[in-house]
Symmetry: C2
Subunit: 269 residues, 2 copies
């Protein structure tokens, strides 16, 4: 979809903005840049602000009329602040990106960006099927042109990614370690409770809400396997200190047996 | 909600970026900017790129540590490219904006932006509840810091506007003129059909799909009242020419009567 989008900059004054647009486009995966009568281009300042997207500047097409810029495009949208004399169908960048997702193969969409000081003329806006309005603070609504391209390009990429993600399940992915399953988590809580008793922080005859609070904390974080193992390793280390500190040999041996059993259960701690 | 968001820029090198951030923030309605040890600030270049958002630069707080920057914040998110050694919960700017919408009064969220060349350090990222990743072209993923702030600030404003719009009906608004109702549209089609017959473009004995195609075109555009009146005015003008051109007086009179009736029906044409 991104290769069906053409960014058209009209009468841009500052070459730095052209460079920043090239960078924003390449960041988001757009490739087709067309410049209608830029004031200064090519230009060192454009190269500097492009910051590695100079390939996009080299392949940019420079033309002298909007007609040439729109060649081969079927859908034309123009970025605009609100409040023109005759209102046009106005969409926001997200709605525009949704339209872009519907483009069939071979159909191209041009997105027009106007001059730094005055935007698009009414004549240019009347060439458009839709106007795109980026929501802004009404008291300070004039976006930098590269910032506007950045927002529009970002929405296009977001839409593409959502399209690709489709109905794929998202829960429990995007992590390097597998999530712990319920059995592993319960073994952790069992071990934790025993250690809390051994260090005499939890009174089994008056447990109050201590385990409930700890369960809520750890379950809320949805721990992964390594995290569970780290915690059980920590508990085992505490258990060993408990054994060493036990004045009563019998208690120490009992704790030691329980520790061995717990470690067998949890596998590699 | 926007006044509960603090933008924190850490060790920014180029004052131009600070200015561009101030502009992007003010464009989107954000007000709270905090700079941790900026290399050059205040600076003329920052003022120039702020382009009228110098009030935001004046009110920006300059501090020397992240601790100071995060004072009074409850939720901390850091912008980051993917692929850190230990992955953190990663959300995109839209999900981040959804979280921001849930902030209760008195709770503040800080959004951290790192150095131009290296972003946030691991230590800084480990201060964060979430990492925010702006989806990018994997082959060219380093966004300009002001462009990143622009995207994040845009999503916050979009979320605010959606929250405000709530479940309000959206169809048929946002236009200066009322939409034509079904009766007005049908009068237009009746008038159109008659005129098409009069100018001998439509053969009543062999109408084919002409009216169907014209209905589809105009209905797809969902015309407003003024547009319907303009079209009927145009048809009436054609009707008058038909009357003048009629070689047969009887036909002319018949047409004229029909025209009067049509105009009476449509009101002010």
């Amino acid at each position: 979809m991104l290769d069906q989008i053409r960014i058209v900059m009209i009468h841009t004054t500052h070459p730095g903005n052209i460079g920043a647009v090239a960078r924003a486009m390449k960041n988001m995966g757009l490739v087709d840049l067309c410049l209608v009568s830029p004031k200064r281009f090519p230009d060192e300042e454009a190269d500097a602000r492009a910051s590695g997207a100079t390939d996009l500047l080299s392949s940019a097409r420079v033309v002298s009329s909007l007609d040439e810029a729109l060649e081969g495009c079927h859908l034309v949208v123009g970025t605009s602040a609100r409040g023109r004399h005759i209102p046009w169908p106005v969409i926001n960048p997200r709605q525009m990106a949704a339209v872009a997702c519907e483009l069939r193969p071979g159909k191209r969409m041009a997105i027009l960006f106007g001059r730094e000081d005055r935007g698009l003329t009414n004549e240019e806006l009347h060439r458009c099927h839709h106007h795109v309005h980026i929501p802004t603070n009404p008291d300070f609504s004039s976006l930098n042109v590269a910032a506007a391209v950045q927002v529009v390009a970002y929405e296009l990429r977001m839409a593409l990614m959502e399209q690709q993600a489709g109905d794929q399940p998202q829960w429990g992915t995007d992590w390097d370690i597998d999530l712990a399953d319920a059995r592993e988590t319960e073994l952790l809580f069992g071990h934790l409770e025993k250690t809390l008793v051994d260090v005499e922080f939890l009174d089994p005859n008056n447990p109050r809400q201590l385990m409930t609070r700890l369960r809520r904390l750890f379950l809320r974080a949805v721990p992964d396997r390594v995290e569970v193992n780290v915690l059980r390793g920590f508990l085992s280390a505490i258990d060993r200190v408990v054994v060493r500190a036990a004045p009563d040999r019998e208690v120490a041996e009992k704790s030691s047996e329980a520790l061995d059993a717990a470690q067998k259960e949890s596998g590699n701690v």
